[in-house]
């Protein structure tokens, strides 16, 4: 009996300890260090420009789940949806020589990349779809990104729990060959649930990095001062890792 009490006590102490330690500053620093190590190790082992696996049409999953916001639903977005997003524009701003405002037609007129890739949600599920759109690098080069830009921020039309969704990647992922601004899924215009009319595909990270309903792409030097400063909606809200490659 005594021994069992000891074991239960040790177990409860371990759990309580973990909760306390997890919130402490040194542990937060350790979590951040581990995240940086994952990013460093992934890029050292798999290369900065190494491609995520691409599949064949036969591998495409029958249904591509829309997660998070499945319809922004506000008046402006609904009006755009009613016209097939004919008047939708996407801005390229921030630390660029030539700020751009591109229509959907102009996006489709750029050189395109089509890729059949697997989408891995942080929750654990996966889906496979075929995405088409210009490489983000093409758009950044058109705008002329300045050398002091370290990150690219994606601004979105959807609001979750009272905050605008946004995400960000560093210049390595921004210029990754598979990082595209997709306007089509499986050969058809993007469904609303999957981010119509334009969404990001960040293929070497988990799904929450692939922002949907993108309205602006902004080159910045630092993520400080942008919303909560942690580089993304889920990062600010719940402390999800900014580098989501693991």
């Amino acid at each position: 009996m005594k021994r069992r009490n000891l074991i239960v006590g040790l177990g409860a102490g371990f759990l309580a300890g973990c909760s306390k330690v997890g919130k402490s500053d040194p542990m937060q620093s350790l979590f951040k260090l581990a995240e940086d190590w994952h990013r460093g190790a992934h890029r050292a082992l798999a290369g900065k420009r190494g491609l995520a696996q691409e599949f064949t049409k036969a591998d495409i999953s029958p249904f591509f789940r829309g997660n998070g916001t499945t319809d922004p639903g506000d008046a402006a977005y609904t009006a755009h949806a009613a016209t097939g997003f004919a008047g939708w524009t996407i801005a390229v701003t921030g630390l660029v020589d030539r700020p751009l405002e591109l229509t959907l037609e102009q996006i489709k007129a750029l050189p395109q990349r089509t890729q059949i890739t697997r989408h891995d949600c942080v929750e654990g599920w996966s889906a496979i779809g075929e995405w088409t759109g210009p490489q983000l690098g093409t758009m950044l080069d058109l705008a002329g990104v300045q050398p002091n830009a370290n990150y690219v921020v994606f601004r979105c039309a959807d609001v979750l729990n009272g905050s605008a969704y946004y995400e960000s990647v560093d210049m390595v992922d921004a210029y990754h060959p598979q990082t595209i601004v997709a306007h089509a899924l499986n050969g058809a215009p993007l469904p609303v649930a999957n981010g119509a009319p334009l969404r990001m595909r960040i293929e070497r990270q988990l799904g929450y990095k692939s922002a949907k309903y993108v309205t602006a792409i902004e080159a910045v030097e630092s993520l400080d001062g942008i919303h909560g400063g942690k580089g993304g909606y889920w990062e600010d809200r719940s402390d999800y890792q900014w580098y989501a490659g693991a």
Binding site: G11, C18, S126, Q205, D239
Partner: protein, 224 residues
């Protein structure tokens, strides 16, 4: 001569701590999407081969549902676990722990010898056989160190999209990303099974001395 070398003892306790944190944070991660699939993709209930139970707060880290929080613990202690295992394997090759204590001889693999070993175990006679460990012990430790623990690392790497450019062969071996995730889960429970058996056998064989020896090292003549 110590019964347990310093490298073995250090690794044993670091490994226990990291596996406990990885297992319990892993149960919290499982709660985020408690369904397992085979193949590359899967998200719908009907496609799942297993609907996993929801693990209660007392079994998870943190003690309440938090996918973000559990991922921080899990991905941090994944480093501790993997690097400690790597160092232990290197040290055990150099200090001849594997060669001296874990390598089996051909005659130990004879069915009659294995049967005798099983019979001895059933009679709660664990102190037999050549060297420090009997055959079933060598087999159990060997399977854990060289199969189950590496499987955790490789299946974990295979479900990381950041490593996709180099995990093609691993994903092919596992049978797709959702299969790798399923194997990660199954292997974690196999390790939990080993843990229960290991603790039960320690409790049956002079537990306080065993515990002390795994801390101080003990003496080889006591172990003989």
């Amino acid at each position: 001569m110590k019964k347990h070398r310093l490298a073995t003892r250090l690794w044993h306790w670091v490994n226990l701590l990291s596996l406990a944190i990885l297992f319990m944070s892993g149960l919290n991660i499982s709660n985020a999407h408690p369904r397992l699939y085979w193949g590359n993709w899967g998200f719908e209930s009907g496609e799942a081969w297993l609907h996993v139970v929801r693990f209660p707060g007392w079994a998870t880290i943190p003690g309440h549902y938090s996918l973000a929080g559990s991922r921080l613990w899990h991905l941090t202690f994944a480093w501790v676990f993997a690097l400690a295992l790597l160092l232990f394997v290197i040290a055990s090759l150099f200090n001849r722990h594997f060669k001296r204590d874990l390598v089996t001889s051909r005659k130990e693999w004879r069915w009659s010898a294995i049967r005798a070993d099983i019979v001895a175990h059933l009679k709660f006679d664990f102190d037999h056989g050549e060297g420090k460990y009997n055959f079933l012990q060598k087999l159990a430790y060997g399977v854990v160190v060289f199969i189950l623990l590496p499987t955790m690392i490789f299946s974990g790497m295979s479900i990381s999209p950041g490593l996709e450019p180099i995990t093609d062969p691993l994903l092919a071996l596992f049978g797709g990303r959702q299969s790798a995730r399923s194997i990660h889960f199954i292997t974690a429970w196999a390790l939990f099974g080993f843990f229960m058996l290991h603790v039960a056998l320690v409790l049956l064989t002079n537990p306080l001395k065993q515990l002390r020896d795994m801390i101080t090292g003990g003496r080889i003549d006591e172990a003989a």
